[in-house]
Amino acid sequence: MTALHVLTAAARLAPAEALTTTYWEGNYALEVRQLSVYYGTFRAVRDVSLKIQRQKVTALIGPSGCGKSTFLRALNRMNDLIPGSRTEGEVVFEGCNIYAPGVDPVEVRRRIGMVFQKPNPFPKSVYENIAWAARINGFRGNMDELVEQSLRQAALWDEVKDNLRQSALALSGGQQQRLCIARAIAIKPEIILMDEPASALDPIAMLKIEDLMRELVENYTIIIVTHNMQQAARVSDYTAFLMMGEDRAGYLAEYGPTDEVFTNPKDKRTEEYITGRFG
């Protein structure tokens, strides 16, 4: 099932080139074309083009401040919320450019979910955290079932099933993050963006999140930003290495299957970064 019908009619009719079938060669979940992001006059990301494989984990790595998070947030139009930000280029999702005029970012975010660096559950009960997300998107069905299913998928069910009415803020950091993942998958997105989802957690919670990602990738496409090289190597199928240019704008230095990028990097800077010589 595609999500094409969800995006607005205006977008489907919009720029003819965005609809050409060439985008559907291969099994891509997203195609990014010449994407640049500006904050005011400062260009944070420069001309990034890449294709994200469906139902794989793609890791974005790179030195601090190279625009990884900015790039990730551009993929579901989260940057729209930052005053003064501007995006150029195209992000083609299910045959539509999500930046085409007439596309509603609310619809984009329903199809492309996001998990943040710091766990940010709503100050509501565990149950309500998931139910609210489903309800505002018009879910009509068995809510209990959906909550259970989402929590099971996020490997959190066994820990919270007896206490669904307790505040989500009473959970541990790792549990909160898995709740955020459960919340994201409750609305059945195609893609889940994760912005350093384990960096605020202890090592055990981090491993749990990584295991979870490997399970989720059976059903979802996952794009993850991480600072942790080992993590990228452990969980990702593909790795994109972003570098900072002279103008401090991030650009794509290397992109390929994780094995290749880590064992046989084509770019010298990638090798230096991965082996820890800078960054």
């Binding site: 619809e107 943040f116 940010n120 505002i136």
Partner: protein
């Protein structure tokens, strides 16, 4: 120049000079601490002086002279307090004229009046106590014998009585020209009406403006101008709002504020000097406060919460309604409490808008004439008679208690709400 040319030397103090240098730094800190403590002490002293003044005036001895001593009214050894209703009626008949009796009978037949009511009539019409002089609390406590001597010399036949000027009668009596019968009921109800209506008007408008300015308005010249103006309006002297209220609400919108348009105007005052005018004026006055406070509360909502909401596909309005406002509500409520206290204590604009100087009947609605506690206090303190100072002090206590009660209620509400949210 010399430091540049000379080789690097370590010029940080060592040994004894280091110890003495640290001691000197501590000394400087200690000096500042003393200054801060002194500042705190001054403010505590000021508060104590205020409370001392109010309490001193609100309690104390009074010299009372009865026209007829209650002891002389005892029937066959039974004191006045224990007499039956019939005996009290008999006393009343013996002491007042038939005309007065007939008028009392026509007001309410004696057959249906309660014993307490008749007792009150006896006190009012027969005993007729009159307060000749009052003494403040601390004089009453410390100069007891001197006061007793003074009373014996100056007011023969008068008795000394301890009187708390804040009492139940003071709360339930309407305004009166005689200070010992005057009460604050009219002013209290007036205050509640005015402040209640003010909040009803200012709260939704203030929150709406705050949401717009904080969450929707783009950062352009016009909106920055509006923001600056609101910030400045918060500092405009209140009397100016009074002038504004007089011009717009009392004069300009008279048909509305007097209730004439709805056919509800008070027949005794067919003009705009009503509770509604006062409320609208105070609402204008506290609007900037509410807006600024609400904006700050909204700004304090963490961005991560908004992002969480957007990331699951919520719209702008859903994010505001379900997450931003509930998170900001405790802060918004605090701001509203401050604004409410401000409105409660405001005097000058209400005098300009036309609070009644003397009003003895309760306000019945937004179109009634009104007076409020601070206005009432102001008017009482302006009177020449000593006793009005006592009831002014008593009214201040009522006002302070009312303010504290409102604040406490709002804080409890806020804490309970905050806890409920945290617990889900």
């Amino acid at each position: 120049m010399s430091t540049l040319s000379s080789p690097m030397v370590c010029s940080l103090p060592e040994g004894d000079s280091f110890h003495s240098q640290v001691a000197a730094r501590h000394k400087k800190g200690a000096l500042w601490l003393v200054i801060f403590q002194a500042a705190t002490l001054v403010s505590i002293l000021a508060l104590t002086a205020l409370l001392y003044n109010i309490i001193n005036q609100s309690f104390g001895w009074v010299a009372v002279r009865n026209q007829v001593e209650p002891e002389t009214l005892a029937v066959e050894g039974t004191p006045l307090e224990d007499l039956s209703k019939e005996q009290l009626i008999a006393i009343l008949e013996a002491h007042v004229s038939q005309g007065v009796m007939r008028r009392l009978e026509s007001e309410a037949p004696f057959s249906v009046r309660s014993r307490e009511d008749v007792y009150r009539l006896v006190e009012e019409r027969v005993i007729k106590p009159e307060i000749l002089r009052s003494w403040p609390l601390f004089d009453s406590l410390l100069r007891r014998s001197a006061i007793q001597k003074e009373v014996a010399e100056e007011f023969p036949g008068a008795r000394l009585q301890f009187r708390a000027w804040v009492n139940r009668q003071f709360l339930s009596n309407p305004q009166s020209a005689t200070p010992d019968k005057a009460g604050v009921r009219t002013a209290l109800l007036g205050s509640l009406w005015v402040v209640g209506l003010t909040i009803l008007v200012a709260f939704p408008i203030g929150i709406g403006a705050a949401i717009y300015l904080e969450d929707y308005a783009s950062d352009n010249v016009l909106n920055r101008l509006i923001q600056t103006n609101i910030n400045n309006l918060a500092g405009v002297p209140s009397i100016i709002y009074g002038m504004l209220g007089l011009a717009i609400f009392v004069r300009g919108l008279e048909p509305i504020t007097s209730g004439a348009i709805f056919g509800l105007s008070d027949p005794t005052t067919a003009n705009g000097r009503t509770i509604l005018s006062a409320s609208l004026t105070l609402a204008l006055l506290i609007l900037p406060l509410i807006i600024i406070n609400a904006q700050e509360a909204i700004r304090a909502v963490p961005r991560s919460l908004r992002e969480a909401s957007y990331a699951v596909g919520a719209t702008h309005w859903q994010t505001i309604w379900h997450h931003v406002l509930p998170s900001a509500l405790p802060g918004i409520l605090t701001g509203t409490i401050f604004a409410m206290s401000r409105a409660m204590g405001e005097t000058a604009p209400l005098i300009v808008v036309g609070a009644s100087t003397f009003i003895a009947h309760d306000p019945t609605g937004p179109f009634s004439k009104f007076t409020t506690l601070p206005v009432q206090i102001y008017q009482w303190t302006a009177r020449p008679q000593d006793l009005f100072r006592n009831i002014a002090a008593a009214a201040i206590i009522v006002l302070l208690v009312l303010l504290l009660a409102l604040n406490a209620a709002a804080i409890i509400l806020r804490n309970r709400y905050g806890r409920k949210r945290r617990e889900g």
